[in-house]
Symmetry: D2
Subunit: 342 residues, 4 copies
Amino acid sequence: MSVLQVAVIGASGYSGEELLRLLTRHPHCNVSIITSRQHAEKPVGEVFPRFADEILCFTAPDIEQIKATCDVVFLALPHGLATEFAIPLLNSGLTVIDISADFRLNSPDKYQIYYNEPHPAPELLEQAVYGLPERYRAKIVESNLIACAGCYPTSIILPTSPLLESGLASPEKIVVSSMSGVSGAGRKVDLPYIFPECNESVRAYAPCGHRHLPEIEQELALAAGIAEVTMNFIPHLVPVNRGINSTIILDALPGATLEKIGDVLNNAYGNEKFVRVLPHGKLPDTKHITLTNVCEIGYTLDSHTGKIILVSCIDNLTKGASGQAVQNMNIRFGFDEATGLC
Amino acid sequence: MSVLQVAVIGASGYSGEELLRLLTRHPHCNVSIITSRQHAEKPVGEVFPRFADEILCFTAPDIEQIKATCDVVFLALPHGLATEFAIPLLNSGLTVIDISADFRLNSPDKYQIYYNEPHPAPELLEQAVYGLPERYRAKIVESNLIACAGCYPTSIILPTSPLLESGLASPEKIVVSSMSGVSGAGRKVDLPYIFPECNESVRAYAPCGHRHLPEIEQELALAAGIAEVTMNFIPHLVPVNRGINSTIILDALPGATLEKIGDVLNNAYGNEKFVRVLPHGKLPDTKHITLTNVCEIGYTLDSHTGKIILVSCIDNLTKGASGQAVQNMNIRFGFDEATGLC
Amino acid sequence: MSVLQVAVIGASGYSGEELLRLLTRHPHCNVSIITSRQHAEKPVGEVFPRFADEILCFTAPDIEQIKATCDVVFLALPHGLATEFAIPLLNSGLTVIDISADFRLNSPDKYQIYYNEPHPAPELLEQAVYGLPERYRAKIVESNLIACAGCYPTSIILPTSPLLESGLASPEKIVVSSMSGVSGAGRKVDLPYIFPECNESVRAYAPCGHRHLPEIEQELALAAGIAEVTMNFIPHLVPVNRGINSTIILDALPGATLEKIGDVLNNAYGNEKFVRVLPHGKLPDTKHITLTNVCEIGYTLDSHTGKIILVSCIDNLTKGASGQAVQNMNIRFGFDEATGLC
Amino acid sequence: MSVLQVAVIGASGYSGEELLRLLTRHPHCNVSIITSRQHAEKPVGEVFPRFADEILCFTAPDIEQIKATCDVVFLALPHGLATEFAIPLLNSGLTVIDISADFRLNSPDKYQIYYNEPHPAPELLEQAVYGLPERYRAKIVESNLIACAGCYPTSIILPTSPLLESGLASPEKIVVSSMSGVSGAGRKVDLPYIFPECNESVRAYAPCGHRHLPEIEQELALAAGIAEVTMNFIPHLVPVNRGINSTIILDALPGATLEKIGDVLNNAYGNEKFVRVLPHGKLPDTKHITLTNVCEIGYTLDSHTGKIILVSCIDNLTKGASGQAVQNMNIRFGFDEATGLC
């Protein structure tokens, strides 16, 4: 099988590091370009000592060189900047796999509300596919612009969507409480993220209007077959490096039984390599899935309140970012979906 | 001022250790008896090296000796066992401050449902006062049986009750997601609690029917002035030693505004030494309150969904157990409420 | 290439889990038997949820079945018990890769001193090879009894041996201070290892006579070409899951310069896949090597005191146990040494 | 008893926070001035939310105001800057308790070597007393310039000095390996100190020439009664918030026995409130002493190598900085030494 030439743009954060970890051992990829303005000309091992033995060097990004030599480009850039790179690369026929938020929302209006600026290329939104493989596999095969699902959204959309589709759960009054490890904030050098401020600390943040909210609402509305979902999503920061736990509380609809809920989840994901529905009575734990591309899902029906409770765990850097990006690449290029991910 | 003679019964766990930390520096207490069957005859410093310099020794519990020499007894015992000690001590006129769950529920039926056995002394339930000082101060002064509020319940009842009383929040469809440090499981030697199983781990547990649920529902129903509250409470274990964060999602009722919510909380707690209502825009953090008796509360109104969101933090061993017990003792015996707690 | 049939005996601890992680993705291995008396008949995924998707089941150990069906057997057993299994398996011509301490010491007398009982099979000690590939590769190829080096010893012998061999460092008055993560204590359910006792804790233990000491002294004496090394080794427990840091202080001998020290280390390990000598000025960090089979080494020469200072980091479960075991298997069976380890 | 008027200069770091925690509950102190250029005019509770309920506000430092209103000034400033403040305050007769390194070294030459600049006020060095109460109590009573001992030095000088004085241990070839929590780096916003870089990480740093080395050598030479001690001190960073463990390896001199070592330590510290010598067989643990002013010491004699091994633990922010500063103040002003520290 031929080998893809791969560029990783903006690889200086934790998602970039995780991408490199996965891509450098992927049998069908050759990472030929790794860019970082900040670290240009440094060996990758100087920034990420785990890669000290790999012969890799950061360069400043050079669009012409990427166009001339690469097949697929991963964008690990801040929102807005990702679009600047995506446009010329798409025009040259490359496949763009974007880890930023630029192409996840179908609605440029929502983008404007949550990102406080007009979408930089609304005409590309129709062309983009939402890069959540278990939901959009067929479209991912055919798209050159794959907008990888966000970390919190992945942990929420995967467990919730089948229950909305099945009619067992109501799309109204959904409440989600999530907890994320600190790598979710990026490799950000800021007072709230230094060790003594995070260790022995648990705290909620952005309880209203987190930027991942419209993405979650969009996908849950599509699953429910309705125009809008309006819900609560409250994230918390907890002192682990990696891992997201999402606890989702849904109104059960008439006819929902524990057995049916289990059937719906198992039917949806029984054949999925990267979604593990636990038997009833077991709940997920982030430590079961860190450094894997797996989303672990537990469920129950609370007869006391009539609520369906779903709990999911993912690794925010793997299934929540870079592992999912590689899974999307595997699908797009016809590789076995798990290549390089086990 | 005279000095109280104090006994601590069952002091071998983390709540017992925290009680000793607080009581040994309390100016009006003399801890004359500390019991532990398991550690009888050992110096306290052998079990809790922090107390190596104190001249204290565990003894096997001896009711007659306690009756003969003590004024007040703290029970840090498993549920059920606490009642066995409480009965004779109450009969002898001592004040019993119980950290177990035995006397928190008004209804023996609820006790039977959640503890799987009949209440061992239902006739005492009427005599007991729920030991949450900010809510029951007047009754605590007069009672010889103080059932200290549980850790999760304290973190939930304090922020929620004033909003139910005010009519700004609905007592229906309340959802609470809480996260607790591992000391909340006690000094329990069991596989799920060893370091490598808890560190780098986030997990939900007991999502339906946790034993603290009926206690929370009881107190929120009393605050709302209705017969029953039926709600969701989902706890999580996170890798910190101490601290609980509770995130509470309430339906706002007509007339609720951000300003009114703030007013209600500030009016309720503006003069409370141990409740700190944060200005809107700030959220609590367990690290702000560990090793203190403070409950920190943040609030917001989500205009997107019409929900009131409350977030609270307490130290599960201090305000959630032993600090609250000392606060109750201070009230009962007419000391300044903060004595020994700052 | 043909596929080896592999048995893992005593796989219920963290080393066993790590072995399974590595072997289940090894292209030339088929793990056909996994034994655990404690967990017999349970699916592996019930004990280690990471393996929930693998179709594996614990069995009680059955020597006849192993002899009939396997080529290579990994022993992850307590010392003493390992020998009981090794004897019949060796007699049947299988290759035994032992993670316990039973065959590491050349001297049965030393075994008796440090393990408080006579060696159970002293006649096997000559047949055994010390399973530290970078030092004993040639012998490992030819041996059916490979005694994998211990975790602390690996972290100390690798950096120190070349300097003793070179004559730049003295084998006298060696001092080593090591820090290990809690998984090094095994999956042990005991009070000192529960989360609140380890988190926010740093402590020395076994400062004299740790069981790894004679193994370290034996190998350093062999490297120095002398009969005995007598040294200090002081381990500490620190609150991380995985990782060992060893800081080694050696007397520099006449002629030792910073450049020569670097040359000796780089010459020794420049071609080694799993030893990374850092450039002078950089020091290792456990986080660079967790979940890898790499030993990272830093060095300096302290002109103030005339000491050579070496610092090394390994993952105690990978290079310190199961990764090294797999590396030894790869060597023994002629596979590329890094197979299944990157 | 009259109340001291106290100023804390440069209170924006973790030592400053710890000072405020201790001083605000000290019965004989009134903290009337708290300065921070960075935070001037902000309420202290905005910077350190634990103090939200105290009515305190940062101001820009104003020497004239301090001179006019304060009795004692704590300097929690970077080295060099501390001297600028100390000079005018001393000239006005105030007592200066300095947490910086400016006045710890007797030798301005050593200062120049380790701090890369000439000492800013060498004439003050003779006037300064080294602020380690258990060693210099008599001088502290009489001095207006108290240079509080550093954190690592305190953990090393306390256990080691009595053994050097006694002649049981040699002052030659001392080796110390220390581990510190991350608050020891200050409230520093820098990549190596963000949570994901420290958590699950153990690493050595500054293995030669750490700035605390000359301070340790100076005091150990004084204890040994010799001109110079030349030793190794190797610090490590471990993922805890607070706490230092120092493991000290000394050559035993003829006549040293386990019993004599214990006697020497117990004689030295048997009456000390803040030094706890453990019985032989027990070793210290940082978790026993965090948030206390106690130095816990364990000892053993390694008959295998003839080394005395001492292990000590302190809280780097309390006994290692601010608690010691308060202890020094108590001594200087004739209060009970433990006032405000238990």
